[in-house]
């Protein structure tokens, strides 16, 4: 029986290997998940190194926060009692915390699978009753918990920035929640690469490249593809009619006499159809966090909202999503009152525009799910073909 089977075996190369058709093992239990999470947290977190890392993390954020506080306390920078200082400080701290989280989180998960394989601690788990999903999700949850600890350690600085005034309380909450979700995605991407790559160094590099691509490459691609969505179109513009008008200016350059009248005209103009590529911007975690933060309250002294980086990003991506607007073709000079009215209308339209962050968050979560699925697939035993450069144990 035996020798016949062996003689009739398919030629080497594994084309006929039954593993190619194996069904995914989708078992998942709370107990199995808990087993892996406890193991991972004990193994990875119970070391003084981790406490040192946490201390350095808090120290860096504290240092930057103090510097920001000192900079804005100095009257030389913005003058006495500057408008919009609170939102500006808050934005800076949000970016700081998010950036640091995006820098540190990949390190927590990017070697979770291949590092264990190299240390010989992966196969002993795989031969137990733990399912591949339990091992993958357990590693993800453990890495996420670690990055949440970092986020919580940074939360007091966000609260301090909130206390600088003029920041909506919802902005603190949305920032914390969305940063936490973004960090989960980063951990999941790292987990996926760690299961796909044989070497920890390779998966660490790929994880950082992936995160950097999400953050910076997608906005860059948005900018670089602008010429492709820039089309010459006939649009109705409002412009001043200078025919037969001779303008005179006084010594200070002020116009003497009446403005020329505003007229409508149909002209061929380049039109930027950003509504076709706005989703590239939405992929960036910075956009997700910024877009979800509620707008700072209107400044009572000017009747306008003040500028801060978070609001700037939000208005930018929402305008990109809306695409060309009528006021883009209004070239008439306007009085201050006219300008304010137009600005208010524009802002109302932007506020009414549907949020961009759910799309970005959804896309990010999908990427994270892809990472977990890849990890679970690679963790399923028995192995069919082994990835190049990997051993079983």
């Amino acid at each position: 029986m035996s020798t016949d089977l062996a003689a009739g075996a398919p030629p080497a190369g594994g084309a006929g290997r039954p593993a190619a058709r194996r069904r995914p093992d989708l078992r998942l239990s709370a107990r199995g998940l808990g087993t892996v999470v406890r193991l991972e947290l004990r193994q990875r977190v119970r070391s003084t190194r981790w406490l040192v890392a946490l201390a350095v993390w808090v120290a860096v954020i504290a240092l930057v926060t103090v510097l920001v506080g000192l900079a804005f306390a100095s009257e030389d920078l913005l003058g006495p009692d500057p408008v919009g200082q609170g939102p500006l400080v808050f934005s800076l701290i949000v970016f700081l915390v998010l950036s640091m989280g995006l820098l540190v989180s990949p390190a927590l998960a990017a070697t979770a699978v291949n590092g264990d394989r190299a240390a010989g601690t992966l196969a002993p788990l795989q031969v137990t009753l733990l399912s591949p999903l339990e091992i993958a999700l357990g590693k993800l949850v453990a890495a996420w918990v670690a990055s949440l600890v970092l986020l919580l350690a940074a939360a007091p600085f966000l609260v301090w920035a909130y206390a600088q005034g003029d920041v909506a309380l919802g902005a603190v909450l949305s920032t914390l929640v969305l940063t936490a979700l973004v960090l989960a995605v980063v951990c999941a991407i790292g987990l996926g690469w760690s299961a796909v790559c044989a070497r920890p160094a390779a998966s660490a590099v790929l994880t950082y490249v992936s995160v950097a691509s999400l953050c910076f490459l997608s906005p860059l691609v948005f900018a670089l593809t602008a010429p492709m969505v820039l089309t010459d179109e006939q649009v109705t513009v409002r412009e001043q009619d200078f025919t037969g008008v001779t303008q005179e200016f006084d010594d200070r350059g002020n116009l003497i006499g009446e403005e020329p009248p505003c007229v409508e005209a149909v002209r061929t103009q380049p039109v930027f159809h950003s509504e076709r590529t706005w989703w590239l911007l939405a992929l960036s975690p910075y956009v997700v966090v910024a877009d979800a933060a509620p707008r700072p309250p209107v400044d009572p002294r000017t009747g306008l909202t003040t500028f801060d980086p978070l609001s700037g990003i939000r208005e930018g991506v929402r305008a990109a999503r809306l695409g060309p607007q009528p006021e883009d073709y209004d070239f008439c000079t306007r009085s201050e009152a006219e300008f304010a009215a137009q600005e208010a209308a524009r802002r109302e339209r932007l506020d009414g525009a549907r949020a961009v962050w759910p799309w970005g968050l959804g896309a990010n979560l999908a990427l994270g799910a892809l990472g977990v699925a890849a990890a679970a697939r690679r963790l399923q035993v028995p192995y069919g073909e082994l990835a190049r450069g990997t051993r079983v144990a």
């Binding site: 016949d4 075996a9 010989g120």
Partner: protein, 328 residues
């Protein structure tokens, strides 16, 4: 130790053996990107016995154990483990198999107790039963005093013993050990031997791969020899010199007498010419009965005999014979 206790060799038919538990592998083949690691291995590991898997480096022992442990899909062949078809129900099979790898990776921030408790948890053992089992195992492998210190303080031998405990947390019916004795001091080896014999006596099917033959002599009931990914010989009843091999076991004995000249003359007279070697004279004897007879005759002939013992272990003899065949 859920398998029934059996001190007899298993029934001959594959289905009968499967019903009895243990490991039954037929025609197992496994390749890695075109290179053949295991070509055609037939292997029986009956419950209640210790089976030695013997072969030179690169003969496919580790790969075969990975297939049996449910970590690698065989390209061809059929494997039944503790009565479960490995291909049809790998998860149930995994629950009944304990595997001790040749690399001893340990979660080094965990204590020995936590390592074993984690594995018990991973096998879904009830918590309180698991705690008792862990204490019992720590006692068994003499790690009780180090139980609550992180595993990275353990010596190589202690890690090895922890690895053994980890493999048997869930009381598997089939135990697979890959080079379990490497790196162990003599006392630990003796304890490992006693532990494995006790497990076999309680009904487990134990498979030990090794190329340290001296200790297998005292440990194994059966020996399966593999070379180039193939089963090349099987010996039953190893403890009593080995029977049932492909070739009859003529064994080499080493004799020492106070008077070498008298010994050589007596051997020549008895028609069993000896070969002088460093440390004595070697004689090849066909059976144990013939050996006993030779001792009696030599003593009767007045030879001042001080030592009459196998020149090599039974398994070593077979191994070297096979290896000779390979290298010729």
């Amino acid at each position: 130790m859920t398998a029934p206790v059996s001190s007899h060799p298993p029934p001959a038919g594959p289905f009968a053996a499967a019903a009895a538990g243990g490991v039954l592998a037929r025609g197992v083949r496994r390749t890695f990107r075109g290179s053949v690691a295991v070509d055609a291995v037939d292997l029986d590991v009956p419950p209640g016995q210790v089976t030695a898997l013997i072969g030179p480096n690169g003969s496919g022992k580790t790969t075969l154990l990975l297939v049996l442990a449910g970590l690698l899909v065989p390209d061809a062949g059929a494997v039944t483990v503790a009565g479960v078809d490995l291909r049809a129900d790998p998860v149930t099979a995994r629950a009944r198999v304990g595997w001790m790898p040749d690399v001893h990776g340990t979660w080094d921030s965990l204590t020995s107790r936590e390592v074993l408790a984690t594995v018990a948890d991973a096998y879904r053992m009830p918590r309180d039963a698991a705690a008792a089992r862990v204490g019992e195992l720590l006692e068994l492998v003499h790690l009780t005093e180090l139980a609550d210190r992180p595993a990275h303080v353990l010596s190589r031998g202690q890690k090895q013993r922890l690895g053994l405990a980890r493999a048997i947390v869930h009381s598997p019916a089939v135990l697979l050990l890959d080079e379990p004795a490497s790196g162990l001091d003599p006392r630990s080896r003796v304890e490992l031997r006693d532990t494995l014999r006790a497990l076999a006596a309680s009904g487990a099917a134990v498979l030990v791969s090794s190329h340290v033959l001296a200790e297998l002599d005292e440990l194994a009931d059966r020996a399966v020899f593999v070379a180039h990914g193939r089963t090349v010989d099987v010996r039953e009843d190893v403890q009593r010199g080995g029977t049932g091999g492909a070739a009859a076991t003529a064994r080499r004995y080493r004799l020492r007498a106070l008077d070498d000249g008298a010994l050589a003359r007596a051997l020549a007279d008895l028609g069993a010419p000896g070969t002088p070697v460093a440390g004595g004279t070697d004689v090849v004897v066909a059976t144990e009965a013939a050996a006993a007879d030779l001792v009696a005759r030599l003593v009767g002939a007045g030879v001042p005999l001080v030592s009459f013992a196998p020149a090599a272990g039974a398994l070593e003899q077979v191994y070297l014979d096979l290896d000779d065949g390979e290298r010729r």
